[in-house]
């Protein structure tokens, strides 16, 4: 993976962002992104390189490997997301990069220099904490200026930069307030401004949106993307929210049990998951058991229990044989009224209406459950009734064989 450039979703993101970039700030910007032209990432220019990092907590029999030999490269100016369920090691990796913990083994390179043994105050890396961790005894402006002050910058420069940051996060009016006197969303902005003020090489964000309500979270997602584009700083974002990861990231690393399972663009991760866990964790997925009959050039022919066969792709370096699990996204399948015309057939057990789309739950003849998602439109001609015999048709390349 890696060489493919996903031009479509990236330019889409840039287009959407163009709307919000009207407030002019004089920060270094990604010229390419602002002009609507996406410059392909130059491979080899890595902001952060994690090499064979292991982190073990506890001693003796209580040892727990929070990170099990993780290696990943994060490019310059990238919005990189570490995605995984709680306890997968994503926050541990972030803390190692920030310097709050030190790796048991391995190296962490920042622009080619090993920073793993450095204390946090010697790393040009700042963090936005999940709890925001704003200093309650300081005002908003004092919080934002703290990092610059600690760096020993002259007073005039600090003031100018704080003013710039306040403008960037639209908090000018509240600069003299105490952090206890502002709302959660505003605290979030202050935390962001505080971490961005010293112009770090890399900004680490530890589930910064998890404490916000749904609407505010959506707003901040766009805001974060805007800030990343405007400042040109590499963002490493930790979340367990797959939707957040898909909508915001340039690339995602999916983590589970201390390991990175897959690194790729949101589209890569969603459409071509490398493992069953990735497919299961990101989006809704149907799993179908089958038997590999033959395979050729990355495409396997798989036979279902109902003796229907289908061709399915599989990830590189994986050799499917015998009993396997097929993965099909609910929106990559469609219902047909005639059971004989579908790839597989079953009985419609439930219809759930979601507004934008409808989920059809089908009990397959083999006994498994299958969900088909159909986008609602005014002209949807066919209506189905529960209990009806239906067929399920797959789109081209919809099915994939995955490692369990």
């Amino acid at each position: 993976m890696g060489t493919r450039i996903e031009s479509l979703p990236r330019s889409c993101q840039a287009d959407r962002l163009m709307v919000t970039i009207k407030t002019g700030t004089h920060l270094p910007t990604r010229a390419g992104a602002l002009n609507g032209v996406i410059v392909p990432e130059q491979p080899g220019k890595n902001a952060i390189e994690v090499r064979g990092v292991r982190k073990v907590f506890g001693t003796g029999e209580n040892q727990v490997a929070a990170l099990d030999t993780v290696s990943v490269s994060i490019r310059e100016n990238e919005f990189f997301t570490l995605l995984g369920p709680s306890g997968c090691g994503k926050t541990t990796l972030l803390r190692l990069i920030a310097g709050f913990d030190f790796p048991t083994a391995g190296e962490i390179l920042l622009h080619g220099q090993d920073i793993a043994p450095l204390p946090p105050y010697k790393r040009p890396v700042n963090t936005v904490f999940q709890s925001y961790a704003l200093f309650p005894h300081m005002t908003v402006a004092q919080n934002i200026g703290f990092g610059l002050e600690m760096l020993g910058k002259p007073k005039a420069e600090i003031e100018a930069r704080v003013a710039q940051m306040l403008k960037l996060v639209k908090m000018e009016a509240l600069k003299a307030r105490r952090t206890s006197q502002i709302s959660g969303g505003q605290q979030q902005r202050v935390a962001l401004a505080r971490a961005l003020a010293p112009q770090p090489k890399v900004l680490l964000l530890d589930e910064p949106l998890s404490a916000l309500d749904y609407k505010l979270r959506k707003e901040m997602q766009i805001e974060l993307k805007r800030l990343q584009h405007e400042t040109g700083i590499t963002f490493i974002f930790v979340t367990h929210d797959q939707e957040e990861a898909l909508t915001m990231s340039d690339r995602i690393a999916v983590m589970s049990a201390g390991k990175i399972l897959q690194v790729g663009t949101p589209r890569d991760i969603y459409d071509r998951p490398a493992e069953r866990f990735v497919a299961d964790f990101i989006g809704e997925t149907n799993f179908l058991p089958g038997t590999v009959v033959s395979k050729q050039g990355g495409v396997a022919t798989v036979k279902f229990a109902s003796s229907a066969t289908i061709s399915a792709g599989y990830p590189e370096g994986f050799d499917p044989t015998g009993e396997v699990t097929l993965v099909v996204r609910p929106e990559h399948a469609d219902l047909v009224a005639d059971p004989a015309k579908g790839t597989i057939a079953g009985t419609l057990s439930n219809i759930v209406y979601f507004g934008t789309d409808t989920h059809y739950h089908v009990k397959l003849d083999g006994g498994d459950n299958f969900i088909v998602r159909h986008q609602n439109s005014r002209s949807s001609p066919v209506t189905y009734a529960t209990g009806a015999k239906v067929g399920i048709q797959f789109e081209e390349d919809a099915a994939r064989v995955l490692k369990d």
Binding site: G99, N126, F129, A133, H137, M150, A195
Partner: protein, 320 residues
């Protein structure tokens, strides 16, 4: 806008709903109950706090009876005697700074005790607050162990440690470090040591309780924002533990200023502090009005010092 309108003004009595009436009654009953609950404490404070204070105040303006007690005759001699001495023969007043010196020395002792307790207590409290939660209660227990025995007994124990034939001198002599014992008992050093020993827990406990509440993620945030250890201490930890520092300082300074047992035993009656001085007026001095006046002057001095201290420190907290 004085033209009358037909609609009732907002102030006109509106019939309250049953629920509103019930609520109003409940609020009133609650207030009454709270007042009743505070009554026992108020009675105790009144009888054992305010009343004695009034007696002291009245006595300080009376004349001393020859064998203790007072004669009911108004006089300001007690206050005059604090700074002046009346000549027995020609009745003139002469300035005598003896009492003032004792007061100043006591203040000095109390200030030094407070500062050293703070310097020793802060790292201790920080250490305790950063232990795992299960361990912390054990540390608090260890700190409170001295309270399990009487201060008098503990002070006597110090006496046995630091006297000429005490543990320290014996050990140093045996090791050949010194040739003759170092005199420690009945010196200012002994008083200072005793005060530190007696009041250190009063500093550690409030410091601990405020450091325990400190959000250590703020410390991480400060490190992340390029603050060195020293800067984290001065810019984040100390400002945030200010309530504990203020409480600890007050709890050490005020009782240290009025300490009685410690200077009496370890100072050997030679190096007096305010507490001993006042006690003397009621004992061998047989001058109750003077003792009362001295006590009131001490109280006034403490109140003034407290006023400035709290005003300064709370101001700093507000301005960050």
């Amino acid at each position: 806008m004085t033209t009358a309108t037909l609609s009732p003004t907002p102030l006109s009595p509106q019939p309250l709903s049953k629920a509103a009436l019930f609520e109003a009654q409940a609020v009133k009953a609650g207030a009454r109950r709270n007042r009743l609950l505070s009554l026992p404490a108020l009675i105790i404070i009144g009888i054992f706090g305010v009343l004695p204070l009034i007696i002291i105040c009245v006595y300080s303006f009376l004349v001393a009876a020859p064998y203790g007690g007072v004669q009911w005759q108004f006089s300001t001699d007690a206050y005059l005697n604090f700074l002046f001495q009346r000549d027995i023969f020609d009745d003139t007043l002469q300035f005598t700074p003896d009492f003032l010196i004792i007061y100043l020395r006591s203040f000095l002792f109390a200030v030094v005790t407070t500062i050293i307790c703070l310097l020793l207590g802060f790292p201790t409290a920080y250490f305790m607050a950063t232990r795992p939660p299960a361990q912390r209660n054990w540390w608090v227990l260890l700190i409170t162990i001295p309270f399990w025995s009487n201060l008098l007994v503990r002070t006597l124990a110090i006496m046995f440690i630091i006297r000429d034939e005490g543990l320290i001198n014996d050990a140093l002599l045996a090791l050949g470090v010194i040739e003759k014992p170092i005199t420690m008992l009945y010196t200012n050093f002994a008083i200072q040591l005793g005060l530190l020993y007696a009041f250190l827990p009063f500093m550690v406990l409030p410091l601990y309780s405020s450091l325990e509440k400190l959000d250590f993620r703020l410390v991480e945030a400060a490190y992340d924002l390029y603050a060195t250890r020293r800067q984290v201490l001065w810019r984040v930890i100390i400002p945030l533990s200010k309530p504990g520092i203020i409480a600890g300082c007050l709890l050490v300074f005020i009782p240290a200023l009025g300490a009685y047992v410690t200077p009496l035993i370890l100072g050997g009656g030679v190096h007096l502090m305010i507490g001993d001085l006042i006690a003397q007026q009621f004992g061998s001095g047989r001058n109750w009005p003077l003792g009362c006046a001295q006590a009131l002057i001490l109280m006034a001095a403490v109140l003034v010092a407290l006023f400035f201290y709290v005003r300064n420190t709370s101001g700093k907290v507000q301005h960050g």
